[in-house]
């Protein structure tokens, strides 16, 4: 049987075997991070810090202490959104943001009157850099961009965006790009980046991180014990402790270490993927929801059907073909409004390196049969 799990944007499956191996190692040996200095603690502390180094490599930074462990990308995004000092009370966002961004922004609007404005964009939500040049960018405090849309997979041009923004800080939501696309925060001078460990990085749920270049800009979201400066009632200023109150998710971090140590080469090529999109795009009863330009396409996309609702289509795919997908709004109503698929949403297909070209062919065959059924009726 092939790999018919196409819901990797929700959470990746399967995981590399190293994930279970390291989680098991931790369960057998125990220990916590810091706080003491006996061997069990030193071993755990070493593993947590080695994981931080691997994450820094994924992010593309030499500033390892600026990589903050979080419980997921939502947590990381909330640290910045709620701890940022808004002088102008104006934020720019992409038109494809997830509720992980828009809900904290609505909270900010209601509590502090901070307004958010949507960047000019093309029909697929790709940011229109030429029209963006017409904006008075210095009147904004912060710009937040979903690097890869979790609905249509469009990849935003974060390097060019940061060039245009200049001194305006950029927060990148890399939830769907980490593990698929080089992030290169140092090379591109990205100010802040949030990611999760359980999607493209193929680690366990409950793991994630925030990269923050200028930590003095942002107040901590959570206050508490860090195992450092214990004589003070105030949070330490130094990194990463400033943002890491409480015992970290050591079990998850061990699993993430396993994921980041593993080498999983993709079982399909980008050409295979492009061919899949082209073929699905030619099926009459389906609308392909993807990037307008395949060079801006990450390995996820959506479809809508002229015959089936998203939930009906998702259910049919599972019942008839054992294909697992996610239907509906994908926690991204703003993205669906931008893409013209609100309020019904779509069925999303998201790939991982564990897929083969045969799995992609199987997916096309299933959709093709459902398209044929539509013609018969």
């Amino acid at each position: 049987m092939g790999n018919y799990y196409f819901d990797n944007s929700a959470t990746s499956h399967p995981k590399p075997p190293e994930v279970a191996k390291y989680i098991n190692e931790y369960l057998n040996n125990g220990g916590t991070y810091g706080r003491s200095a006996y061997d069990r603690v030193i071993t755990v502390s070493r593993m947590v810090e080695n994981t931080r180094v691997l994450l820094a490599q994924v992010i593309g930074t030499g500033l390892t202490n600026h990589v903050i462990f979080t419980s997921n990308a939502t947590h990381a995004l909330n640290i910045v959104i709620k701890g940022f000092p808004y002088r102008n009370k104006r934020i720019l966002i992409s038109p494809l943001e997830h509720n992980a961004v828009t809900r904290p922004l609505m909270h900010l609007l209601n509590v502090n009157g901070v307004q958010h404005y949507i960047l000019p964009h093309r029909i697929d939500g790709y940011i229109d850099l030429d029209r963006m040049r017409l904006l008075d960018l210095k009147s904004y405090d912060l710009c937040i961009v979903n690097h890869v849309s979790n609905v249509n997979g469009v990849v935003q041009p974060i390097a060019e965006l940061k060039d245009l923004l200049g001194d305006v800080p950029l927060l990148v939501d890399a939830s769907q790009s980490a593990g698929h696309i080089p992030l290169e925060v140092d090379k591109n001078n990205i100010d802040m980046l949030a990611l999760t460990g359980h999607k493209g990085l193929m680690g366990p749920t409950g793991t994630g991180c925030l990269f923050i270049r200028n930590p003095e800009l942002v107040s901590p979201l959570v206050h508490g014990g860090t195992g450092s400066r214990s004589d003070s009632h105030l949070m330490p200023e130094h990194l990463p402790d400033r943002f890491e109150a409480g015992t970290p998710n050591v079990l998850g971090i061990y699993g993430l270490y396993g994921a980041l140590s593993a080498k999983v080469n993709p079982g399909f090529s980008f050409d295979d993927f492009k061919e899949l999109l082209n073929r699905i795009g030619s099926l009459n009863s389906f609308r392909l929801v993807s990037a307008g330009n395949s060079t801006n396409q990450a390995p996820l996309f959506s479809v809508t059907s002229s015959r089936y609702s998203p939930s009906e289509l998702s259910n049919l795919l599972f019942k008839r073909y054992s294909i697992e997908t996610r239907s509906g709004l994908h926690c991204a109503p703003l993205a669906h409004k931008t893409l013209g698929t609100f309020p019904a949403g779509s069925v999303r297909f998201s790939l991982s390196n564990f897929h083969s070209s045969n799995d992609l062919a199987y997916l096309y065959q299933a959709l093709s049969e459902l398209d044929h059924d539509s013609k018969q009726r």
């Binding site: 200095a37 030193i42 502390s45 080695n50 202490n65 450092s228 330490p236 402790d241």
Partner: protein
């Protein structure tokens, strides 16, 4: 007792810096051990690294290069 047997404690702000320093020490192949910070010395985290003072000069450059800030306490063995 020779001076080379004197021990030095390296004290850091965070566990992150302790472990970063450990990687540098391992790459240099010098003797070290991680121990709890003795109660007589203040530190910003619970662990410190003990080395032979004779290795200090070798490591100081690496630590400065990596912008790792630390305090040194010399302990007569």
């Amino acid at each position: 007792m020779t001076q080379s047997k004197d021990k030095c404690l390296l004290l850091f702000q965070s566990i992150h810096r302790v472990m970063q320093t450990e990687r540098l020490i391992v790459s240099r192949g010098v003797y070290y051990q991680i121990i709890p910070v003795p109660k007589d010395y203040s530190s910003e985290c619970g662990m410190c690294i003990e080395i032979n003072c004779s290795d200090l000069a070798l490591l100081e450059h690496d630590l400065q290069l990596n912008e790792i800030y630390f305090n040194i306490v010399k302990v007569k063995s």
